[in-house]
């Protein structure tokens, strides 16, 4: 379950103070007992150490951690349909998730005398990660412990993390996000590193949390948080490695980040939805810019594909979703199809569509929101927004949301993004 072999090894830091292996194992046993009869656990702990203990407790007791991309009431309802016995493990008193809740045990002084590290079968189902899909039903991706473990062993090697010394890993992303889960929680467990319990938010918090950690220290972050750090005037402590993922970072910002921290910056590109596909026998793909053509085999004439496709080798390719359909806002991924489905499921909404605004607004964090046009004669914008808030992550809420008499559908019923932008400009 963990690569830390010595009882003296540090597995986490809280407020700069080390948490060692015997304490961790005792906390894991304590949480496993608290989980009672549930087999599926939605781990909503905001403290990264609590989250990690919760995940390890599930692993050690044969339970499955569920990791949806967001915790809106609609997603939670779908999760309960998927696994009716699911419970929510939380470390917050005011947790509003509508599932049977299990409070993270605090204050107990667990027995630290037993330092036996549980052995986990590589085939064991450790987690189910959900992506939003396009029809309203979250799409499950099953992750075995062996798969997760191998993935973060490889990641540590790619990042060049030292194998002879434990790094202290600080992350600005939540542990429930796939990137945070792998790059701050699993990478620490599988490679004898230590994770930092805090998730600092403001630039001054990030600098202070880094400063409190021993070196070598690593910062796991995103372009949004790095832009905010660079825009602030706080002094940044020397750091040994900065990792950025969820979206590409501009060259200039990357260079400035390296200079301000005196550290190397590495970027990771990835998406849970990405899976390698095999071509039908005889079919070949050719790419011209963003357009991909399929020909040969059973295809009678060359056909233009509607998806962004990346050939990866003879007869194999990666599918990156429909062109312009993918949405990534501050590292949260969705698709226009999913968001439109949720919008049109609201009682009183007759028609509605999300779209990308054209110009990127100059902001410190570099985040550009979606917009939406909605036909809902009985509702006002505030009511539609309140209903949407129940269904989709706040990052995707449209800004602006325009109520219109009808959508600019063309003769085939399609809605060109261009026509939506023109309608928004006219309003």
């Amino acid at each position: 379950m963990i690569a830390h072999t010595s009882p003296d090894a540090v597995i986490a830091y809280r407020g700069g103070a080390p948490v060692r292996v015997p304490q961790f194992l005792a906390d894991v046993r304590c949480v496993a007992r608290a989980l009672d009869s549930a087999q599926h656990v939605l781990n909503a702990c905001t403290d990264r150490y609590h989250f990690t203990v919760g995940f390890a407790a599930c692993l050690a007791s044969g339970r499955v951690s569920l990791l949806p991309s967001t915790h809106t009431p609609e997603v939670v309802r779908r999760l309960a349909d998927f696994a009716p016995d699911v419970v929510c493990l939380t470390d917050e008193a005011g947790c509003a998730i509508a599932l049977p809740r299990i409070q993270y045990p605090r204050g107990a002084t667990p027995d630290t005398s037993d330092s036996t590290v549980p052995a986990i079968d590589a085939e064991q189902l450790a987690a189910i990660v959900f992506t939003s899909g396009s029809t309203g039903t979250p799409v499950p991706h099953r992750k075995s412990w062996g798969r997760l473990y191998a993935c973060v062993r490889a990641e540590a090697e790619l990042l060049g993390l030292p194998t002879d010394a434990g790094c202290a890993i600080l992350a600005t992303v939540p542990p429930q996000h796939m990137y945070g889960f792998e790059s701050s929680v699993l990478i620490a467990l599988a490679n004898r590193h230590a994770l930092c319990a805090e998730r600092p938010f403001y630039p001054a918090d990030i600098a202070a949390a880094l400063q409190a950690l021993p070196r070598p220290r690593v910062l796991i972050s995103t372009p949004v948080h790095l832009r905010a750090l660079l825009a602030s005037s706080v002094a940044l402590p020397p750091t040994d490695l900065i990792v950025s993922a969820t979206a590409p970072l501009e060259q200039q910002l990357a260079a400035e980040t390296e200079q301000r921290f005196g550290a190397e910056l590495l970027e990771i590109y990835g998406a849970t939805e990405t899976a390698e596909w095999r071509l039908w026998p005889g079919v070949t793909l050719t790419c011209e810019g963003e357009t991909t053509w399929a020909r040969g085999g059973h295809i009678e004439q060359p056909t233009r594909m509607c998806d962004v496709i990346e050939p990866t080798g003879p007869g194999r390719f990666l599918l990156h979703g429909r062109v312009t359909d993918l949405v990534n806002i501050a590292g949260k991924r969705s698709s226009l199809a999913y968001l439109n489905h949720q919008l049109n499921s609201i009682p009183g909404v007759q028609d509605g569509a999300f779209f990308h605004m054209e110009e990127a607004r100059a902001s410190h964090t570099g985040v550009t929101r979606l917009a939406a046009c909605v036909v809902a004669p009985e509702l006002d914008a505030a009511r539609v927004l309140a209903a949407l808030r129940q269904r989709i992550d706040a990052a995707f809420l449209p800004r602006p949301l325009l109520l219109v008499a009808r959508l600019p559908r063309n003769s085939t019923g399609k809605l060109p993004q261009e026509a939506l932008r023109a309608l928004a400009a006219a309003n």
């Binding site: 005011g94 600092p200 938010f201 403001y202 630039p203 001054a204 918090d205 202070a208 949004v224 948080h225 905010a228 825009a231 602030s232 005037s233 706080v234 806002i329 501050a330 607004r361 902001s363 410190h364 964090t365 985040v367 927004l385 309140a386 808030r389 706040a394 990052a395 809420l397 800004r399 602006p400």
Partner: protein, 101 residues
Amino acid sequence: MSDKVTPLRQPAAPANAAALIAEVAGLIVGALNLDVAPGDIDPDQPLYGEGLGLDSIDILEIALVVSKQYGVQLRADSEENERIFGSLRQLVEYVCAHRTK
């Protein structure tokens, strides 16, 4: 949200506070490109969630604007943080008490 809040250090003088509320409202609307006039923001309405509808990315953006404009570095290490962003008025009171420029 907790109701165990500590009193603010220095309540702003009323006239000053009104001017600063208008100024900070303008900064927020400008920074976030909100579809609302600064004067239409109810100073006692929550900034997060249901109120003005802001999320954590917006809060980060506001924190940067406020630190540039008033030299106030926001920290999240206390319950105070939820209260600071509880409303425009509370944010302004915090800025008043901690501004360095």
